[in-house]
């Protein structure tokens, strides 16, 4: 049914109904936002995992990762052996005034040294303060949440498959070894002095 002014009345009704509902405003500084897992807030670094391989710095499209490192010589442990070298990280810094939060460095890191933290309150009055050095990046690591649980029925992580296979192999080797121990007389004889000892 159409009557004059129907549209006008409808407009008033819509605004009035909206007024009776709860507003959708996020009260940010009073109430912290509920961020989704995997929020890209700030990049955290586990220095111990970093091998100074420079992959992240090279992949970075914004060139905002600075890495300085040197090689330490580890003297050979055996006589006449070869000395080993090891990369030591001197500086690892990310300039968040350049970073575009693309996550390529986190993806590129082969040793899981870089992680996303959901923290986002690190605004500064001076742009130079936005370059976080490695100790600050290490501190962000405490705010990195545990990885999200997999979806039900999802494929297991590759590492778990590898570890399980290794464990199985070890268990199988054990099983193969045990029967040998019980059936072979030589080994029995070898075992006997031991029993005597205890």
């Amino acid at each position: 049914m159409n009557w004059p002014g129907k549209g006008l009345a409808k407009g008033l009704a819509v605004t009035f109904r909206q007024m009776t509902r709860r507003s959708v405003t996020a009260h940010y500084p009073d109430a912290l936002p509920e961020l989704p897992p995997r929020t890209r807030g700030v990049i955290a670094l586990i220095e111990e995992n970093c091998t100074s391989c420079m992959l992240c710095a090279r992949e970075c499209p914004a060139w905002c990762i600075y890495i300085d490192s040197h090689k330490d010589v580890i003297p050979a442990t055996t006589e006449g052996g070869k000395d080993k070298t090891r990369n030591v990280l001197d500086r690892f810094a990310i300039d968040f005034s350049l970073c575009m939060y693309c996550s390529i460095c986190v993806e590129a890191c082969p040793f899981d040294a870089l992680h996303w933290s959901p923290e986002f309150e690190y605004a500064e009055l001076d742009i130079r303060e936005l370059t976080h050095e490695k100790d600050r990046l290490r501190d962000w690591m405490w705010t990195v949440p545990a990885p999200v649980a997999l979806d039900p029925g999802a494929e297991e992580a590759k590492e778990i498959g590898v570890a399980e296979k290794a464990a199985e192999r070890a268990a199988a080797a054990q099983r193969v070894v045990e029967p040998v121990e019980t059936t072979t007389g030589d080994l029995d004889k070898l075992d006997q002095p031991k029993e005597g000892d205890t």
Binding site: L8, T15, F16, M19, S23, V24
Partner: protein, 319 residues
């Protein structure tokens, strides 16, 4: 002596109402509009739901520099905000909120209020003309065109009530008011309210300040306190319009317990109408200039004339 004291008290009362009620309407607008749009509006000023937001705004406006454009007509430019504001103060003087509760009871109160409200618009016109700015000028001319178009249905609708009541005194009109007037004068009430909205340039009739096309119309060059005065004039205009609508068409202080709570009824009705003014602002988009003129001349004027005829028939039949 006591007569002087009474006059002073009445004037002080009107002044306080003039300074407080527009702020109240402004705050209601802040909050109601916000919630109608799914927001919360001001929350911090004054610590409780931003009740002091307009006070803070006022303090800010006072601190700002008073700039007059080099090419402006200085004198007119400076006077314009006062010309826009004072008429509403004067209009509030004669609007009764209870029997005897009025700044000055005039026998020609209705005539006076409508004449004075027209003057307020001249302030905007002066501001638009003297700013030496094309946007201001366009806005000023739109103000003038709007005044020309909407003053006629405004006056005709008011005349209908005056005819029905047989008096021009606002107090007399409320005294003669009858609940069935709500039906009898319904068309006049709508015409009066709509053309009143256009007269105080409230959305959807805010073509003169259409910020998407002419910046802020006549107020483009204004800043600081003078700008605040214009905004205050807008809200004082809403109060005067709402109070007039309440007094003329909704029976003013008439209602249950009118002997004790008459003034409360007037204030409640005024606030209800003011809320509708805000509500309409949120609900409707701005009218285009040609739509604005067509609504006035082809819609409201014929309706007002029709109402006059209906009123005349009713007045003759009941007399």
């Amino acid at each position: 002596m006591s007569e002087t004291l009474e006059t002073v008290l009445r004037l002080a009362g009107v002044l306080v109402a003039f300074l407080l009620v527009p702020l109240l309407v402004g705050q209601v607008e802040h909050k109601a509009m916000a919630h109608m749009q799914g927001r919360v509006g001001p929350m911090y000023a004054g610590a409780f739901h931003g009740w002091a937001q307009l006070v803070a705004d006022g303090v800010k406006f006072v601190q700002k520099e008073d700039v007059v454009p080099a090419a402006a007509d200085r004198m007119v430019f400076k006077i314009a905000p006062a010309v826009a504001l004072v008429p509403y103060l004067v209009a509030m003087l004669v609007i009764p909120i209870g029997p005897g509760l009025v700044g000055q009871d005039l026998d020609v109160g209705l005539f006076f209020v409508i004449a004075v409200m027209g003057v307020g618009v001249v302030g905007s016109l002066m501001g638009g003309w003297s700013s030496a700015n094309k946007f201001s000028l366009l806005g000023g001319i739109r103000v003038a065109a709007q005044l020309m178009a909407y003053e006629l249905p405004f006056v005709l609708a008011a005349a209908s009530v005056a005819m029905a009541a047989g008096t021009l005194s606002l107090t007399g009109i409320v005294e003669a008011w009858n609940p069935w007037w709500l039906l009898w004068q319904a068309i006049a009430a709508v015409v009066f309210f709509v053309s009143g909205l256009a007269e105080v340039q409230r959305p959807p009739f805010d073509m003169p300040v259409a910020d998407a096309e002419i910046v802020f119309g006549p107020y483009t060059e204004y800043g600081g306190l003078r700008f605040a005065l214009f905004i205050l004039a807008e809200y004082a205009g809403i109060v005067v319009l709402s109070a007039l609508t309440a007094v003329l068409f909704l029976g003013g202080w008439r209602g249950p317990f009118e002997d004790q709570l008459g003034w409360l009824w007037t204030l409640l009705k005024t606030m209800a109408v003011a809320f509708v003014v805000i509500w309409v602002r949120v609900a409707y988009p701005r009218l285009r200039e040609d739509q604005l003129q067509r609504l006035a001349w082809q819609g409201l004027v014929p309706l007002a004339l029709l109402q006059l005829a209906i009123t005349a028939v009713g007045a003759v039949m009941t007399a």
